[in-house]
């Protein structure tokens, strides 16, 4: 039916479609997208639906089998952990998106400026991102260590604190510690993306703004920011999506503690599956996750598909 829709490629080429042995454009298109679709269906959609289905059963990783329990798992999760876990997830996802964004933006502005050894520094600044994230998490775990970590040593020598602080076993500071570690790890790629964006700003636009008497701040808000709008959007969106998933840093540094203060959705799912070996409850968490995300997905699609209007 819709195969006959006018293709964006000029109608004169439709003659090619009638040649024997040649695929029609739409068939080609479907074949082209087949590998990607196949992988996504097989490796993400099918296992996901499977795990979510298990959310309606009472199934343990240890024993086989499993009895149908309907909404019992969902109820259990909603009554117990859902709100705190949701809260932690939002705090982490938003915090881990905004903090590196601001620091990365600052870094990109610096790296775009007249600093010495600029070429070298642009590469060197990527170092925190290139260290495997598991290692970076252990490194920060150790920096924050209450008994011999360098942060305590540093603050005590400056006289800021008189006694060692246990950063990772106090609720509020544990989340901040994890956010700081994640920020250190991620700000470099954001900086590079924004740096790339800064480099596409036409010099004459900047020049004419300066000539018109705009000071640095105005140049920033009227030339730089509008030009970077797309990159900023992409960076923020990608970060947010990835941070909803993020698991390793929290797992290594706090295992979701103290007293579940840093337990996000992914940590909760992992612990439910591997400590309690409760696949039913893990599946229920997954169902709730998907429901929440469908809200985000709709927003995401609006942004992601914005370019479509030019072509349809």
């Amino acid at each position: 039916m819709s195969m006959e829709r006018v293709s964006p490629i000029a109608p004169s080429t439709r003659g090619w479609q009638k040649r024997p042995g040649r695929l029609r454009d739409s068939q080609t298109a479907v074949l082209l997208v087949l590998p990607a679709a196949a992988l996504l269906l097989a490796i993400i959609v099918y296992p996901l639906l499977n795990s979510m289905l298990i959310g309606f059963f009472d199934k343990s990783l240890i024993y086989g089998g499993g009895t149908f329990v309907g909404f019992k798992n969902l109820e259990a999760v909603l009554n117990n952990e859902f709100i705190p876990v949701l809260g932690n997830t939002l705090v982490f996802a938003i915090g881990a998106t905004l903090l590196p964004f601001f620091i990365g933006f600052g870094a990109s502005l610096i790296l775009n400026g007249p600093i010495p050894a600029r070429g070298f520094l642009r590469g060197a600044f990527l170092l925190p991102w290139l260290v495997p994230s598991v290692i970076a998490s252990f490194l920060w775990l150790w920096i924050f260590n209450a008994n011999y970590g360098v942060l305590n040593g540093f603050l005590r020598s400056l006289g800021v604190i008189s006694q060692n602080n246990s950063w990772l076993s106090t609720g509020g500071s544990a989340m901040l510690a994890v956010l700081l570690a994640k920020t250190w790890q991620t700000f470099p790629w954001i900086a590079v993306m924004l740096l790339a964006g800064l480099q596409t700003i036409p010099a004459d636009q900047m020049e004419s703004a300066a000539i018109d008497g705009a000071n640095r701040w105005n140049r920033f808000t009227h030339v730089t920011l509008p030009h970077l709008r797309n990159v900023i959007g992409i960076v923020l969106l990608l970060s947010l999506i990835w941070n909803f998933q993020h698991f390793e840093t929290i797992y290594v540094m706090t295992q979701g503690g103290p007293a579940k203060a840093t337990t996000t959705f992914s940590v909760a799912v992992y612990q439910t599956a591997f400590q309690a070996f409760d696949l039913g409850k893990a599946g229920a968490l997954g169902i709730l996750w998907m429901l929440l995300l469908s809200v985000v997905v709709i927003v995401y699609l609006r942004f992601g598909m914005r370019g479509e209007e030019d072509f349809s």
Binding site: A37, I44, Y46, N50, L121, P132, V134, Q199, F311
Partner: protein, 288 residues
């Protein structure tokens, strides 16, 4: 159009001077934040074990030792992990690029039923909880007898990065004028020729940026590599944890030495190619 890659265009000398002081101060702060932990890794790797846990910690090592680096060299298993990581990450990048170029081209330049649904699938797939997938994937691969192969890692990581890669490349494809493609068709080119001879060369800078993200997914992942393959095919993250985090004690100094050594090639590569990388990103996802 000239693009900005040089100094800020400050109008007044005093503004310029103040700006420069501010810039250097900000630079110093940023460098401290970025590099002090790296410095700490370095310093720890050069200390003897007895000094590693002294409190208060000294900024400079009291005693210098290269024993931890020597230990790295003496442990051939670590090079196996490094080799595995490079293999898996590079293959992930290549396979991701191939598959996503085709898919992005399909989404960008064609119209067909199911296209919107597929795009929805692709875009939303990266939001699905990967922590939950681990067990189902493990059991699925176990039944297919695919565990402990490089393929299982490459397939998993590729699938996780596909949404990002397809999206980035599609954005770039969208900017390629269709006249180019039309002209090629008039000249008698088939689709594959169009893709390989015309589109890929244009898209090449974007491929660099996309490939890097795909590479990093394979490079960084811990939990899937730990679960899906055995020791001989382990990548660095689980391999390093396996080697240095024990039941009784963790060998921090050795771990720091090993981590620095394995990150070094990447750093050097990025420093050498930073210009191409940045311009690739410019060409790729960044076009306004």
């Amino acid at each position: 159009m000239k693009t900005t890659s040089g100094p800020w265009m400050a109008t007044r000398a005093s503004e310029r001077a103040l700006g420069r002081i501010g810039l250097y101060a900000a630079l110093a702060l940023a460098m401290f934040f970025a590099f002090f932990p790296i410095y700490w890794m370095l310093v720890t790797s050069l200390r003897p074990n007895s000094e590693v846990f002294a409190f208060p910690p000294s900024l400079l090592p009291q005693t210098l030792t290269l024993e931890h680096y020597a230990n790295f060299i003496k442990n051939p298993q670590l090079l196996v992990y490094l080799g595995n990581s490079v293999l898996v990450a590079t293959t992930t990048a290549l396979v991701s690029l191939i598959i996503s170029v085709y898919a992005a081209y399909s989404f960008s330049k064609f119209r067909y039923t199911g296209r919107r649904a597929l795009m929805f699938l692709v875009l939303s797939a990266q939001m699905f909880p990967q922590a939950l997938l681990l067990i189902s994937l493990y059991l699925m691969f176990s039944e297919l007898k695919m565990l402990d192969t490089y393929a299982v890692l490459v397939l998993s990581f590729t699938t996780f990065t596909l949404p990002l890669c397809i999206w980035m490349l599609k954005g770039y494809f969208d900017h390629i004028p269709t006249d180019l493609i039309e002209a090629a068709k008039i000249d008698g080119a088939g689709q594959m020729q169009i893709i390989h001879r015309i589109l890929v060369p244009i898209v090449r800078p974007a491929l660099v940026a996309t490939g890097i993200f795909a590479f990093m997914r394979g490079w960084n992942d811990f939990i899937y590599a730990l679960t899906l393959v055995g020791k001989s095919k382990q990548t660095l993250p689980p391999g390093l944890v396996l080697t240095y985090i024990g039941e009784f004690q963790s060998q921090w100094a050795d771990m720091m030495a090993a981590s620095l050594l394995v990150s070094l090639p990447l750093v050097i590569a990025f420093i050498l190619f930073q210009r191409q990388i940045v311009s690739g990103l410019t060409a790729g996802a960044v076009k306004g």
